[in-house]
């Protein structure tokens, strides 16, 4: 059994070249958006804007500019987090979403029927429909490459090693060393998703960030969709019970009518 594999993304060394995006599209044969007709976002140098069914990698540009000479760029190559406790896998009604022997999360396109429950379940907004297949798609952590001993296309293409691929245990050690190094230089650096006792049991694709998670478009405390199940079901049952009693009281044939006794014709 192979050990859990994943990505450690050090955002401090990302240069926004998008080689990972291109390598991902090329290897996975993902179609161009809008038939290849370029659409600019108009308010950012980031024209990909989001992860979806045909963008499994997205280099997020965070442009923090207060004035023309006062600001910074933050760049982060975003991808599926391959959560140890995955919301998408939890809700998928067809069994299309599976956990692989590498502890990664993969959508089987030949099983998915495009119900889109996984899209709403993912706390990171990673999944979307691929319009060509009509099914939900996302990063597979290059399952086909892993099977033959190759590393994923994106990390292979990354020229600065911002995206590092390896065993999760080894990546965590490496990431902590990098955080310590940055902190010793006075940089505010934190790991996001590296703690196996943290949200969702840890993320098999985790990040080194130098600002708050929300700045990178990441939820502070991602949770499983099932957290709401018991409470929501309980309130629904209570509501059904109240209405059931009201129906019973209001719609039954009043016995007093039948008996012709006192109170006949009563409540209605």
């Amino acid at each position: 059994m192979p050990e859990p594999m994943g990505f450690f993304t050090d955002t401090t060394v990302c240069i926004g070249c998008k080689a990972c995006e291109v390598a991902c599209k090329e290897w996975n044969q993902l179609p161009a958006e809008n038939g290849g007709i370029r659409e600019l976002s108009g308010d950012s140098y980031d024209n990909t804007r989001r992860l979806d069914g045909i963008h499994w990698r997205h280099v997020r540009f965070i442009e923090q500019f207060k004035g023309p000479y006062d600001g910074r760029w933050l760049m982060m190559s975003d991808v599926c987090k391959h959560c140890v406790q995955a919301g998408c896998l939890e809700v998928c009604p067809t069994g299309a979403i599976i956990r692989t022997e590498f502890d990664t999360v993969v959508i089987q396109s030949d099983v998915c029927n495009g119900c889109r429950a996984c899209i709403a379940a993912c706390p990171f907004g990673v999944i979307d429909i691929n319009p060509v297949s009509g099914t939900a798609q996302k990063c597979t952590l290059c399952y086909d490459r892993l099977k033959v001993g190759l590393e994923p296309a994106c990390s292979k293409a990354c020229p600065t090693d911002s995206i590092q691929f390896g065993s999760i245990v080894e990546l965590r050690t490496r990431a902590q060393k990098r955080v310590d190094q940055l902190k010793s230089q006075g940089v505010k650096a934190e790991l996001y998703g590296a703690d196996p006792k943290g949200s969702l049991g840890g993320l098999n694709s985790f990040y080194l960030l130098v600002d708050e998670p929300e700045v990178y478009g990441l939820p502070r405390n991602p949770q499983l969709p099932s957290r709401n199940l018991a409470k929501s079901a309980g309130f629904s049952v209570a509501s059904a019970a109240v209405l059931g009693v009201l129906a019973l009281v209001g719609l039954r044939k009043r016995r007093m009518d039948d008996m012709g006794g006192p109170g006949a014709g009563g409540s209605n």
């Binding site: 308010d43 804007r49 992860l51 979806d52 919301g87 939890e90 809700v91 998928c92 009604p93 067809t94 069994g95 030949d110 099983v111 998915c112 029927n113 495009g114 119900c115 889109r116 429950a117 899209i119 709403a120 379940a121 993912c122 706390p123 990171f124 907004g125 979307d128 297949s133 009509g134 099914t135 939900a136 929300e214 990178y216 478009g217 990441l218 939820p219 502070r220 405390n221 991602p222 099932s226 709401n228 199940l229 929501s232 079901a233 309130f235 629904s236 509501s239 059904a240 109240v242 209405l243 059931g244 009201l246 129906a247 019973l248 209001g250 719609l251 039954r252 044939k253 409540s267 209605n268």
Partner: protein, 304 residues
Amino acid sequence: MSDTFFSGAPHWAWLIILYFFVGGIAGGACLLAAVVDWFGGPEDRPVVRTGYNVAAWGAILSGALLTIDLGRPLRFWHMLFQSANVPALMFKGWSPISFGAWALLLFGLFAVLSALGGMAEEGRLHNPALRAVGGAVRGGLAKVVGGVAGLLGVFIAGYTGILLSVTNRPIWADSPWLGALFVASGASTGAAALILLAPGRGATEQSLARLSAFDTKALVVELLVLVLFVASLGSVNRVWIGFWGLVLLVGVVGLGIVAPLRLHLQRRPLASAAKLVLLGGFLLRVATILASEGIERYRVAAGM
């Protein structure tokens, strides 16, 4: 900011809205038909037969809407059987969309059987096979089949709200009250549908008056749950500042709950109030689904 604002919209739009609305009506009408079937009198039979008919056609329409909405409609059966391991069943008790698929199938089965029983009672079945099934249901099993259909009906009306809550989307996952709200709305719209359709099958004034009285109580429950729903959203309520908030306030609360309540209290014509209740039930699904659908993750992250 709620963590739900970083998730992606599942593009559940008009077909799903229509399914939630139709499923609510079918489920609510079936519950009421079953209650009247068990505890009503002979003069209430038109209401029972109408309720089972609404449930049966609603279940069939619901299944069609859900199938058409899929990205790959011909794979709808993947929700029921393991596609690579047929005939092994596909069922996840912790996933509302999974147990909902099974519940809808069973609801459809029991609602259609009940409707056939009702049609046999009216002597309207001419096909020999259908007449045999309808006759069999009518001959002793009717109340049991109807009772099961009624219980499954409440489930169909409510699980759609639970399904929305068991996600990571804004509004839906920020409140545990959507399921309860949809149950109440299913009951009120189910009663409204019966008030409008049962006279066509010869329902008496007395039966309709009882349904109307029940609808008044269901609307009060719906209003109370709606208030709890909005209160539970907390800071997320800022999403209602805009068009969908107007739809919720004017369309759902004003036209769909308060106006029919007033008509009921003034003992005005039943049909006008029933039509408003149906409009309110539809707008409730429109507002709750589209208000969340409109929130795009990348715009939130970019502070737009």
